[in-house]
Symmetry: C2
Subunit: 442 residues, 2 copies
């Protein structure tokens, strides 16, 4: 009923020849985005809230995700399961997910059932009912989810440790699901206080994508969501910020359960919201050039030429409210030490910092990224997620439509400047090691 | 007017033949400890509050230390400087310090002036006056203190990074002085809210050491401190706790300003308050055996035998409310890589884990520690600090008097068990490196 997967870079939705998009705001402050897509008689309906795990109050990590679970528990008007059963009976799908910066709820139904799913989301935005008999067993479900996914998995443990090392103060360093010892303390009162703080029309964004027009959607949204009274101000995100980092941190986890060692390097860089003009576009292209598939620099050098890795890549989490993560990763070839792999990765990065990239490589990367975005629009759900994530992290609709021009304008000099943002000082390197590797090493 | 030095292990004050100590509580909840010391006609007067930097509210790091500064700014009854000038005129001394778990104020005066310093502390416990004209310039003083001591000093930067890596969630990972970007936001309202929350009789401990009797001190304490109305409950410390640590973290700082490389290893271990019975005594002895002076294991092996270090030591910060730090440190001999020093330290630690320590070494360490505590009692101020720190971190007076017996009872098996608490998994290693070392290394 929930997932923690990364949302595709929202900016990647920007396409000159993209779908018709309308954007308006209801009187109570709730924003609405409509993406018309008339290829099939279906609609994707999402409600996004501008609060994610990074807005969890101190000592209450996991509350955003826990509340996402509890949103399926029934309202003053409808018992638990009523709406989920209804959607299933209509042949629809539903889902929800919690991320660092937002929480979102999703349904996909035939176009004639849009009013039904609007009634569903509007009802649980204000009428959620929580009692101990509901909340306490669900807390055990979440704790079990944490045990299964993290506490028994060395790679997940390393992931948590690497993030906690990178963000020593900022809540991006905390896991979305929360720390086990804090989840254990979450109760009905915490959940209700959180719900009342964040689940408000001012804090919500409705995204509808599908075979409907604005003339249909606007009155429906007005009827179902417009009826919710405004609360006044949008809730404020209260987040400790990160001090400057002077040291490099190497986080190393060895465990008998590890079968495949791996390498990662994480850097704090500006996000789409915190970057200077154009910086995020250069970072996006840099991640593509360094590690986007089998033509990327890291793949060519480490996997094909030097044959010291069997996989290598890069990722830029540009869609974020605060300064965010750029990461490189690699999986060593058999017998290759992670320290040697690390040195080779550093060398590639230093080469880009010193010499930039080939004009031809840059042109190919731009073409490929824009083409990928065109293909991705084939998915109605992907389109809806792009717009929802962008608005939930403080970007606007225009920033999406301007994206192809911005990507086209990135120069080699700006790629070089972006590469200089990846400083070893302040970075975190993560090693996942087998226990055998330790024995060999000492 | 303030310092951040470590307080000597409070438990070390426990001595069968120690000074006469009385302990009582006023009706408003304020505790009083009197340590009689009639060698000279002077008294040491301290007021301890059970709040330190680890109780700083979220995003308000540095407020405990900032308020310590502001406590010298004047009250409803007396202008700024009145008391400090008075104490100087009386030939007295005063000071104050903020630590992770407490804040304390100290005066040393001739015995006949005890009433004067009590009037001083009682006045500023309730009558502090704060306005922008006082608070804002003092904030700049603190920011300048931070710039001087930390931001321009690579060793201090590493210290902060190492602690932030060790305590990813618990506030022991934050600097006592606070993060610069958070200090900048502290204002009169933050300071007054903090003052009203923590500066209460229920939260305070009066320690008087000197040439006075209970018959003299009790009525004076009653007059000055007993007159302060009780607030009700003692304020609660709200502290995020640390999740289990699965990974080792190596924190490495290279800077052109570094002239002398150094090595440190930090482990989270139980404190006097969180340890199982006897565990903290074994940890105290272990720190002495491993790194207490020139007869210690690390010094003998690394400095004398292998000559790979010019200094080596160990320290256990036992007096703490929550799980605390045990650390090892070493300074490499010229030309020795920190990686080699690290391996040698690991080897020594592993040897103690596998084989324990010599009975004779243990007996010598016990004798030495108890003798050190006897000598240290010569200082009235040290005695006062032992008792104040112990009570402020949740220990009791009896735990101090029983300390020599507890130390005497520690066996080799318990030392071995304590050594097993120092696990590389979950530990943090810190390297301070010269820039030359980097050039050689690569």
């Amino acid at each position: 009923m929930n997932e923690h997967a990364l949302t595709p870079t929202p900016a990647a939705a920007g396409l000159a020849a993209g779908p018709p998009v309308s954007h308006f705001t209801l009187a109570n402050g709730m924003e609405v985005v409509l993406i018309e897509d008339h290829r099939a008689p279906v609609v994707t309906h999402m409600v996004w809230y501008r609060n994610g795990s990074a807005d969890d109050p101190p000592m209450k990590s996991g509350i955003a995700h826990f509340l996402e679970h509890l949103m399926f528990k029934g309202t003053k008007n409808h018992e638990k399961g009523y709406y989920s059963n209804l959607i299933a009976d209509l042949g629809g799908q539903e889902n929800a997910f919690t991320s660092n910066d937002y929480t979102a709820y999703f349904q996909r139904v035939a176009r004639e059932h849009l009013a039904t799913v609007m009634a569903y989301e509007a009802d649980r935005m204000v009428n959620l009912v929580l009692d101990d008999a509901t909340v306490n067993p669900e807390r055990d479900v979440v704790l079990e989810e944490r045990r299964m996914r993290t506490d028994n998995d060395p790679a997940a443990q390393l992931q948590e440790a690497v993030h906690a090392a990178l963000f020593t103060q900022h809540p991006y360093g905390k896991p979305v699901i929360g720390w086990g010892h804090e989840i254990e303390t979450l109760d009905r009162h915490d959940a209700m206080a959180y719900y009342q703080r964040f689940y408000t029309p001012e804090n919500a964004i409705l995204v509808v994508a599908g075979d409907v027009t604005r003339a249909e959607v606007e009155p429906l949204a007005q009827t179902h969501y417009g009826a919710i009274p405004a609360r006044g101000e949008r809730p404020v995100r209260l987040r400790p910020q990160e001090p400057p980092a002077y040291a490099h941190r190497l986080v190393e986890l060895r465990d008998a359960k590890v079968e495949q060692p791996s390498h990662q390097a994480l850097y704090i860089v500006p996000s789409a919201l915190t970057a200077k003009a154009g910086e995020q576009d250069a970072l996006e292209l840099l991640s593509h050039l360094l590690g986007g598939g089998q033509t990327s620099l890291l793949y060519r050098k480490l996997v094909l030429e030097q044959q010291i890795a069997v996989a290598a890549g890069a990722y830029y989490m540009g869609g974020a409210v605060d300064d965010t993560r750029f990461f490189l990763y690699a999986v060593p070839a058999e017998g290759v030490e992670l320290e040697a792999l690390d040195a080779a990765i550093e060398e590639e990065l230093a080469a880009v910092q010193r010499h930039g990239v080939d004009e031809a490589d840059l042109a190919r990367a731009k073409t490929r990224m824009i083409a990928d975005a065109v293909y991705a629009q084939d998915s109605q759900a992907t389109l809806a997620r792009w717009y929802g994530a962008a608005l939930a992290t403080g970007e606007n609709v225009a920033s999406i439509s301007e994206w192809p021009q911005r990507i086209s304008a990135v120069t080699v000099d700006r790629i070089t400047a972006a590469a200089h943002l990846l400083k070893r000082q302040g970075a975190v390197t993560g090693y996942l090691k087998t226990v055998e590797a330790e024995a060999n090493h000492e």
